[in-house]
Amino acid sequence: MIVDDFSWKIAGEAGDGILSAGLMFAKSCLIGGLYVHATAEYPSLIRGGHNHLDVRVSARPLYSHTKRLSLLVALNSESIKKHTRKLLPGGGIIYDSEETKINPEEVGRSDISLFPMPLLKMANACGGKIMRNVIAMGATLALVDYDCQLFNHILSKNFAKKGQPVIDNNIKAAKAGYDYIRQNFAHVKFPFRVQRQGDKNNIFLSGNEAICVGAVKAGCKFFSGYPMTPASSVMHTMASFEKTHGVVVKHTEDEIAGINMAIGAGFAGVRAMTATSGGGFALMTEGFGLAAQTETPLVVVEAQRPGPATGMATHSGQGDLRFMLHASTDEFPRIIIAPGDVQECYYLTIQAFNLAEKYQMPVIVLTDKFLGESFATAPAFSGNEIKVERGEMLKEVNEEDYRRYRVTKSGVSPRSIPGVKGGEHVASSYEHDEFGFEREEEHVRMAMHEKRFRKFANAAKEIAEPQLIGPENAEITIFCWGSTKGPALEAMRLLMQKGISANMLHVTFLSPLPAKKIAEVMRKAKLTIDIEGNKTAQFAGIVKQETGLEFNCKILKYDGRPFNPEDLATAIKDLATSDAHRIIILNGWQEAVKLKSEGELLLKAPELFSAVVEGD
């Protein structure tokens, strides 16, 4: 049996070049017409710790990584211990034969192949320890029988700046790895294959990068922010567009400056964005309200990571939804968009800018580490997906008495920007009258408060409803938001293979919430399951608050890791076939306490979990 779906993991320490090597492999697959997904896990450290990158490749479109692996490249012994049990039957391990002696018994897997290689020795022969990654890459190519030329092409591009000798050295290393496998393991039948496909007009990029492409396409010309994992690469990518697309990028003194500068630029008539994670957003909270009160368009990217406080800086979660919904003093409407994949990152960011300007309102693009920092294949963006719409922006003002905050039926007031004659006005963070002057009278307050909410009601009308994915009359309807889309789609595929039909409502607009559509789908569904990366089921709470309806079941996860398709499918199946357990908490912690069967990896209730950890 030859398997087209190849899941590869390279694991070692920070500083082992795991990400760069893995991404080169991924790109070589991309240019071979394949679909690729790549996601890394690393600690908040520059050196050491346990790092690993998953690259999954197939000839058919992919939505996420998987838990089970085809091939593990273990750059140290710890990696073997941690990941061996995730190997699929027929899978294999590439490891350093001189550093690690694997006792097949100990590994407990007679159904996998071992590929010991003198990695370090070979690397040293090619220029040093750091070459282990490329040697292992070459070995991988040999095992899956993939075209070396494509990989060499990527190597050449990757090291172009470093000169031909470096390129040659890397090609040599890859070849050494390739040859070693061919020579020493010709007898092993490795069932996984990566085969070059016809050329496709595909791209391969991270969620953060896709957001930046969307921002550039939308005409964002100003970015100000402060580095914070996992949002930093938004700033880096925007900065890389500085010269090519005329974007002014400002690494600020802090997040407070980051949001206030973006508001200044927005007030001056330029599409502006900032990006951060929860802790940085906390500092932006006051400025976020300033955008609302002054009705200044603003786009904020918030890439979630687990908290509280510094929390788990390099990990993922979906715990900030409620925070985004209610951040800042008093009530005001905001638009919250949570894309589910790189394509959505791109076009929903364009829409974010349009909505921000049309409704003169702050918009949050809510992602997380998993979506923002994972790389995936997508059809190249045409650039014609969404038009730039700037809303009511005045090029000239002819009225005598221009009222910047005119109370209109739509709630939107035509906006003038500095430089436009006759449009002079003051924008105030105080409650204000139609001219912008600070006011405290009841009727002014109410007129302005109502006006801000009317804009929101109108924005809600133009936002497309989420569409049910999958068979209309499925046994199970799953609900999710944001980055959970990919693993959930993959889980649906797994369930289908097991003869279980599921469909899915993936919600990208969390505010305004498409409550009517959600309620309609919930009412029609046979069994509803909410899937979220947090402990308190925040989305479910919002849905209950808005619709009065409750999901039949929930699958939650808050261990800092994204969902994976296999565990999700198992949990969904479990819920579908028994109604004893209404909530399943997925987690990886048992991996540390070494449970025997994978089935035990699903805990049936929070109580059970508590019981285990409480043993003090």
């Binding site: 100000s224 007030f267 330029v270 730039v388 500095p418 436009v420």
Partner: protein, 291 residues
């Protein structure tokens, strides 16, 4: 086309206490603006929150009354978005040296071409009389009934140390002098700071108009050369001449790069002037195709 002071009026009237130095600041600023000759739609006055920060309600230009402590970043964003604007920040001493201290520090080393006017009344006026970072050690206030313990900050010395290229002090009721300072500061290429002594007759009963009459010394044309950095540092270190508070031009450095000029080397067309109707992303698609 220059504007008269009348052109600059709005329908709003300030509600400051009688004798408040903010009147002097507002009127002087309007005089300076009318002299500068910039058209009012190309002027942006950004303020914070405080008594004097309300001043852009009374000047008919573009105005942005932001958050307490945050006018500098707003001004920075606006200036980088549209470098042709004349951007002036007016903010309280609490705004600037208290809650906004970090932006103050970084704006100065940034040397963006904006002018910052600090209404230094040595007190928090709008919140009713608590000490500010410029209050003298020992000053009692509702938040410091036993007297503030910290020594007052020295904005002049800090500004020079932080890299500001135009550092001056004014007195809100020496209006001709102050007006010329604003005009010079606005014309100066780079960041200019004018810290203005502003009487607050309601909450600062020490530094009154009467008190200032006897306690100020104008250093302009009185032997101090603001282009002599060492002399400027010496002057700023105590801020005094002959036992009186010095005001005037402390330090001026010309010809230093400005942030906006350097930005223009990377982004040639100012953001606000770029056409965003249909941006070509084909080159980005190439980049991410990795071929």
């Amino acid at each position: 086309m220059s504007m008269t002071i009348k052109d600059l009026a709005t329908e709003e009237q300030p509600a400051w206490c009688g004798g408040c130095g903010d009147f002097g600041i507002l009127n002087t600023l309007k005089m300076a603006l009318s002299e500068l000759g910039e058209e009012r739609h190309n002027i942006l006055i950004v303020t914070g929150i405080g008594c004097g920060s309300k001043c852009n309600h009374f000047i008919h230009t573009y105005g942005f009354e932001g958050l307490h402590g945050r006018p500098l970043p707003v001004a920075t964003g606006a200036k980088l978005a549209n470098p042709k604007l004349k951007v002036i920040v007016v903010a309280g001493d609490g705004d600037t040296y208290g809650i906004g201290g970090n932006h103050f520090l970084h704006s100065m080393r940034r040397n963006l071409d904006i002018t910052l006017i600090v209404e230094n009344n040595q007190v928090y006026g709008l919140t009713k009389g608590q000490v500010s970072p410029t209050s003298k050690k020992g000053t009692p206030s509702p938040s410091t009934p036993s007297g503030v313990i910290e020594e007052a900050i020295n904005p002049m010395a800090l500004a020079i140390a932080a890299g500001a290229t135009f550092v001056a002090r004014a007195y809100s009721f020496d209006m001709p002098h102050f007006k010329q300072l604003i005009v010079d500061a606005a014309k100066h290429k780079g960041f200019s700071l004018i810290d203005v002594f502003q009487p607050c007759p309601t909450y600062n009963r020490v530094n009154t108009m009467m008190w200032y009459k006897d306690n100020l010394y104008n250093v302009d044309n009185n032997g101090h050369n603001p282009r002599d950095r060492d002399a400027a540092i010496r002057l700023a270190s105590t801020g005094m001449v002959n036992g009186k508070l010095a005001y005037g031009r402390f330090y001026i450095e010309e010809g230093k790069y400005t942030y906006d000029e350097d930005v223009a080397k990377v982004v040639a067309v100012p953001p606000v002037e770029q056409d965003i109707g249909n941006i070509d992303i084909a080159p980005l698609m190439q980049r991410f195709a990795w071929k």
